[in-house]
Amino acid sequence: MATKKMLYLNRRAPYGSVYALESLEVVLIGAAFEQDVSLAFIDDGVFQLLKGQNTTAVGMKNFSPTYKALGDYDVRKIYVEKESLEARGLSREDLLDLTYEDENEGYAEKDSIQVVSRTDMAGIIEQNDVVFSF
């Protein structure tokens, strides 16, 4: 099977609707297909990656710990747009620590999240063969 560049474009906050959760489910299943996968978080999508989510009182499943497993699934390119963070009063420090082990550098832990500018994000979107929007 040919390898394609696939982008998961996340623009929605978690919990208020199911899209964030069900998008993550696609990413986890999709990892088995060994494609060139990237995740992009823009607009309210950046809220998905916030630290400190606690869903006990709303009675829903807190799926934010699952993002930490992405590294084990070889999902290593997670782009978060700087302007979207800033517009929401957020910065990199507010986001989860997502890492992967780089087999080329003695399995050193590396940051999966890259905060990128809007201009860079436009280039990232354009590079892909397939864009899954949720």
Binding site: R11, R118, A122, G123, S133
Partner: protein, 101 residues
């Protein structure tokens, strides 16, 4: 690579169009469908943003949705109308499609 961006939300309700227009690059196109066609209204709060984008990209609107909403006579100049077959053609003519839901 060229991208066909589809926008299906009214710009007066959601930011799909506004967001999309930030990421369009020269050679790409924007297709307004469903409530997204309200983004093609002339003299509206979002007209200037759309007009600005037209310097780089072609903006299309799905005629069936325009007609359904009774706004055919109110569209800004330069927006091209397509039918569903035209929508299909646009998908084939761009390298990839990105939906701004």
């Amino acid at each position: 690579m060229s991208v066909l961006h589809t926008v299906n939300k009214s710009p007066f309700e959601r930011n799909g169009l506004e967001s999309c227009l930030r990421y369009v690059k020269k050679g790409s196109s924007v297709l307004l469908i469903e409530d997204g066609v309200y983004g093609a209204l002339a003299g509206s709060a979002s007209s200037n943003a759309v007009k600005g984008a037209m310097a780089n990209v072609t903006v299309y609107a799905l005629e069936a949705d325009v007609l359904a909403r009774g706004i055919k006579g109110k569209l800004m100049d330069g927006v091209k109308l397509v039918d569903y077959a035209g929508f299909v053609d646009l998908v084939t003519k761009h390298d990839t499609t990105s939906a701004w839901l």
